[in-house]
């Protein structure tokens, strides 16, 4: 039982920066969280908060000119000889064969754009078979049978025919299902879904979320769900990480984060969303200002210029650390912990 509480993936103080001609963009600036088997970790935040770069960092596929500058990503593998294996993904080269054997096999990715996340000139089957045979010793025949099986598993009607279809012949919802089938081809233990339903309609979104949930129930994999939609997070996640401008501002169990949110950003964000249950036509509490451009990130706490609880001299001078405020509930805000002695 003890082992069950061990996370399959631990991210510690991850920092990923992009070194562009215009300057350094600290896309992810110290993110720490854990993902457990059979659970869904939701990462939520608005544009530019670094949620997608976090996913790419875990897979070691951050595009140039970006790279991981600091931090640790630990993957716990299936116990072998009774001893769980821990691999530091950050110590592997991005294009090393170990890293490649983990990508797709242990950790799979479902990307946001179902339109363009599949090659337009290869059949669905071809792409799934290609991915499956990368990590599993399968004959073409076996791989093709597997592809049909996966396609019907994700709910694509007439899967035998669908493996010969090209992506443009499928609707957005079916394409997203095909993409999930591709991600499942090597039976990953962690599925990273980056905005998997953003481009879809509400009713199709409901179908896909339902599919992800039932898949998780069936094979017990861990899901890391990245989205900007608080509703999707509330619906799906067990644990939540809220990010703002590359930093984790709050994390904890979904009920705690939504019910007793502590960080002013999380609080304001939740209050500013109209809900079909809230009173109509009232003035929504808003967050003033706009998200700063990543090149001009404010000093100190990145949220301080928009923060209703801004403490002058503190929030604009010191970077808050992520610290516990309760059971598994972490917040990075000076309202809850003391200002560090040494000025940074």
């Amino acid at each position: 039982m003890q082992d069950d509480r061990q996370p399959i993936l631990s991210v510690r103080n991850l920092k990923t920066s992009f070194f562009t001609d215009e300057g350094i963009v600290r896309a992810v600036d110290g993110a720490s969280f854990e993902v457990h088997l059979g659970q869904t970790l939701g990462i939520v935040g608005e544009s530019g908060c670094g949620k997608s770069v976090t996913a790419l960092s875990i897979l070691g596929i951050v595009p140039r000119p970006g790279r991981i500058v600091e931090g640790e990503i630990l993957l716990r593998r299936e116990p072998e000889n009774g001893q769980a294996q821990e691999i530091a993904l950050t110590s592997l080269g991005d294009s090393s064969s170990e890293m490649r054997s983990i990508r797709g096999a242990e950790i799979a990715l479902v990307f946001q754009e179902p339109m363009t996340s599949l090659s337009p000139v290869h059949t669905i089957g071809n792409q799934i078979i290609g991915a499956a045979r990368l990590h599993r010793k399968l004959t073409k025949q076996e791989a093709s049978e597997l592809a049909v099986e996966l396609l019907s598993l994700v709910g694509i009607p007439r899967a035998e025919g669908a493996i010969d279809a090209y992506p443009f012949q499928l609707s957005g919802g079916l394409r997203q299902r095909a993409l999930i089938a591709l991600a499942l081809s090597c039976d990953p233990r962690l599925l990273i879904a980056d905005e998997p339903t953003t481009a879809l309609d509400v009713t199709t979104q409901a179908q896909i979320l339902d599919l992800l949930r039932s898949l998780q129930e069936q094979n017990g994999m861990a899901i890391m769900l990245i989205t900007h939609d608080m509703g999707v997070i509330a619906e799906m996640a067990d644990q939540v990480v809220v990010m703002y401008l590359g930093r984790v501002v709050e994390e904890g169990p979904v009920d705690t984060v939504f019910g007793e949110s502590k960080h002013p950003y999380t609080q304001s964000l939740l209050r500013s969303i109209p809900s079909i249950h809230s009173t109509p036509k009232v003035h929504l509490p808003t967050i003033t200002g706009t998200i700063p451009h990543p090149y001009n990130r404010p000093a100190g706490c990145p949220f301080h210029p928009r923060c209703p609880d801004f403490i002058p001299g503190v929030c604009d001078h010191h970077e808050p650390e992520l610290q516990s405020v309760g059971d598994e509930h972490l917040v990075s805000c000076f309202l809850y912990h003391p200002v560090p002695e040494t000025s940074s």
Binding site: A108, L109, S117, P120, V121, G130, A131, L134, H135, F168
Partner: protein, 330 residues
């Protein structure tokens, strides 16, 4: 798919027709008619040609009838293999052209194949290694290729060949095969001589294609499906070759459409400089001598070659691009 092919075919036929009209206009452009020019030419050399002969010629080409009748007359001749008479050579145009048409095709095809063979790998390399030294070098060479007109390149290479190696790089055959009938030896000799003119003709096209391929591939490399494949654990090399290169090939294949007119244009002028036995020098000679049936026929043949080539490349594109095969063209 058939609808697409039919559409391209109709367009090709229509273009072909326009080519014949343009060629006919070129035949008609010089002042005076063919027989006037013929008379002038004959009287300069010999004087004892009867008036009846000219009259019958006039009737043969319907020169006394309206323009469209003349065109129809010429076209009906073309369909039965009679392209008219070359007055410079005093024999039928088809005889004058002989196997020069075939030579032109061989040379152009060679140029296209070389162009592709060079542009494709360099384009891929430049895109994958964007902003590397190699990319800069190839980009620079590409620009030179765009900047240097092919006939100047031919001249310069000829000069270098002459001064450095003391050899004449012109021609498609060694002197000993020049007048020989076709044999294996002659074919080998042709293959030996072919690459240099083909490269010269293809250079600017190659430069253009490198740019096209590089740009296409750079676009594709940014697409999410590349991330999907990368996240599936594919190695960078097989990933690039399997997906984005394959996708980028489609617009690349459709470049034949403009590459071919480009290459045939280049082949005409380079052939003149290098003295190759293709249609080029013949066209120039016939135009200078105002031998208009010959000139018009050559222009028409070159036009027809491009139209047919473009049509074939359209079919090729249709075959390789499933989006067209399944009629999903926007």
């Amino acid at each position: 798919m058939l609808a697409y092919a039919a559409r391209r075919l109709v367009l090709a036929i229509f273009t072909l027709w326009t080519v014949t009209v343009l060629s006919f206009i070129i035949i008609q452009l010089p002042p005076g008619d063919f027989v006037d020019a013929y008379m002038a030419q004959l009287s300069a050399t010999q004087s004892n040609v009867s008036e009846q002969h000219f009259e019958s010629l006039r009737r043969q080409y319907a020169l006394d009838r309206p323009m469209y009748v003349q065109y129809l007359k010429w076209m009906s001749g073309v369909f039965s293999g009679d392209f008219g008479t070359s007055m410079m050579w005093r024999k039928s145009v088809l005889d004058v052209i002989g196997d020069r048409l075939a030579m032109t095709m061989v040379l152009s095809l060679g140029a296209i194949i070389l162009t592709w063979a060079i542009a494709l790998p360099i384009g891929i390399y430049s895109a994958v290694r964007q902003y590397s030294i190699g990319d800069y070098v190839f980009t620079f060479i590409g620009f030179i290729g765009l900047g240097v007109p092919s006939f100047l390149l031919a001249l310069v290479l000829m000069y270098l060949g002459f001064t450095l190696f003391d050899s004449d790089i012109g021609g498609l055959f060694s002197p000993e095969y020049q007048l020989e009938p076709w044999s294996w030896g002659k074919v080998k000799d042709l293959l030996y001589h072919l690459p240099l003119p083909a490269i010269i003709i293809g250079l600017s096209g190659t430069a253009e294609l490198i740019r096209v391929m590089r740009a296409n591939l750079l676009d594709e490399l940014r697409k999410p499906y590349v991330i999907t494949a990368r996240a599936a654990g594919m190695s960078e090399r097989s990933l690039v070759l399997k997906y984005p290169v394959r996708v980028a090939l489609n617009p690349f294949a459709s470049t034949v459409g403009y590459l071919l007119p480009y290459i045939l244009s280049g082949s005409v002028i380079v052939s003149v400089v290098l003295g190759l036995p293709t249609l080029g020098p013949l066209l120039l000679g016939s135009l200078v001598a105002q031998d208009m049936f010959l000139a018009g026929t050559i222009v028409m043949m070159l036009g027809a070659l491009t139209v047919i080539g473009t049509f074939l490349s359209d079919l090729l594109l249709m075959w390789i691009d499933p989006r067209i095969r399944f009629e999903m063209v926007q």
